[in-house]
Amino acid sequence: MSVRALVAQASKRASTRVATRSPTAFSTQTRTKSTQPNYEGHVPLNLFEHAFMFAGASYMALMHPARGDMVAAVGDLTSGPVLPGLRDKMLASTEGRRILKERPRINTQTVDMSKLALLPEGTFGNAYVTWLERCGVTPDTREPVHYIDDPELAYVLQRYRECHDFYHCIVNLPVNVESELAVKFFEFANLGLPMAGFAAAFGHLRISSTKRNKLFQEFVPWAVKCGASSQSLITVYWEERWEQNVDDLRKELGIWKAPEARWGKALSEAKALAQKKSQAAQRSEAP
């Protein structure tokens, strides 16, 4: 290209720049990625922010694993490549398509816990509430998805996060560290989510060697065999199966119970949340 043409091109670029940017505008045009959220709770991140959040959140999640929001953030930031595949699996099954269409959420407002408790023993609904009580957890403490840009993929990840407890329940594992790791291995084999992979790969470094041995000798073989051979659990419309017999459900999905685990004391998560809610209600009532 001739020098003249290059100069013409450059000056054209410069003139359009000047036309659209005044000195003050120059200093305020700092983002190349839109900051408008695509859904409620969405936080758009550009590449630098993505990397920064990943570094910070993974450090925080490792140092303080109780920071559920940081664990969720790492999940959000790493699940990007895998979610389209999961969404396609959902689209390939009738049940999954129904889930994507209706987008059900799982928490104490959308699920009638008292009705489930009245179901006969042996049903999935009853097994679920029994498991919740036994472990002392509640579905209300799941962190919403923030860092996935596409609303549908964000929903898929949110659905996975909310169904995590169902996976616990269906394979009959509690919520202590070794059992969580076993479920992570199971989830990684079944769904392929990177966060589950990280937890599986590095989570065992923080537990005692006896627990680690038990994990790798008993639970991991089970998790990998069961997770890999069963149906993709993201496609299961759990809310339609409350009355189904639990063993029938397992047979249908192609999974079987995990080896016997150590069931410790119930956590105080559910009680703490209930207390916080009643305190907030009291405070809002008081003048």
Binding site: T24, R31, Y39, R105, A280
Partner: protein, 312 residues
Amino acid sequence: MQTLTRRLSRPTCKFAVVRPSWTSPLPTATLRLNHTSSNQGSKDVDSRFTHFGFQTVREEEKESLVKGVFNSVASNYDVMNDAMSMGVHRLWKDEYVSSLRPGARGPLKCIDLAGGTGDIALRILDYARENYADRETSVDVVDINGEMLKEGYKRFKKTMYHNTPQVRFIESNAQALPEEQFPDNTYDLYTIAFGIRNCTSVPDVLKEAYRVLKPGGTFACLEFSRVTNPLFNMLYDQYSFSVIPMLGSILAGDRESYQYLVESIRKFPPQPEFAKMIQDAGFATGGLHEGKGGAWTDLWGGIACIHRGVKV
């Protein structure tokens, strides 16, 4: 703020494409603003609107929203300040207090507004003690937020000023200091550091400052302000809007409060305008320019700024 964000991320909401959540936390307030002028008719005669970061909210609501923000940041406040400014806020506060030279002309009665965690109060007392062997200077630490005052009280317990008449902690609104507790013409020095932008009505704060200061007393305000250099401003904006909310979510688990904090900085009037407001409240200031003889001094290019005035 916590209840606000909890409500926004309520599990029952679906992932439909919605209007951006943080432009309408209080739908009725903004809708009304869009369709009617705010002071029209007898119904709306009292509802005025102000900014809460980049959102528009009713004036009455701003106070409780800000309260919510500071309730949730209180316990991590000092840690977060260090992380966000990479420790530089300490340099700014040191510069602020040393430029005032408390104790140079005898013991002072000081009042520190929005002084919650006691950063400025401690510096004033230490400066007077170390440079002038002054143990009579006193600081009344006033804050609208009880949680922040609790943090300040805790910090002061570790110092020699605990349980002495040199420091007092009082919960009050800077815009309306009760006359019995804060009579006219009481104080020699009125300081407010990084607090005035959170107040709903800055002129009211300045009016109260004028009232409680003795004639000859000094009003000094340390606040975030406008960076004058456009290139540096670009980097500063980038840092503010990218890194600070992320640090908020990582360190404190609260992105929204820190988003509010960086937005509130942008909404605060620039240096000359604020200097004019100080003059309008009755204070004598330097000329409307920066630096020697001026009404304000920029720190770090304008990221922070010290405005001074004297009650005549």
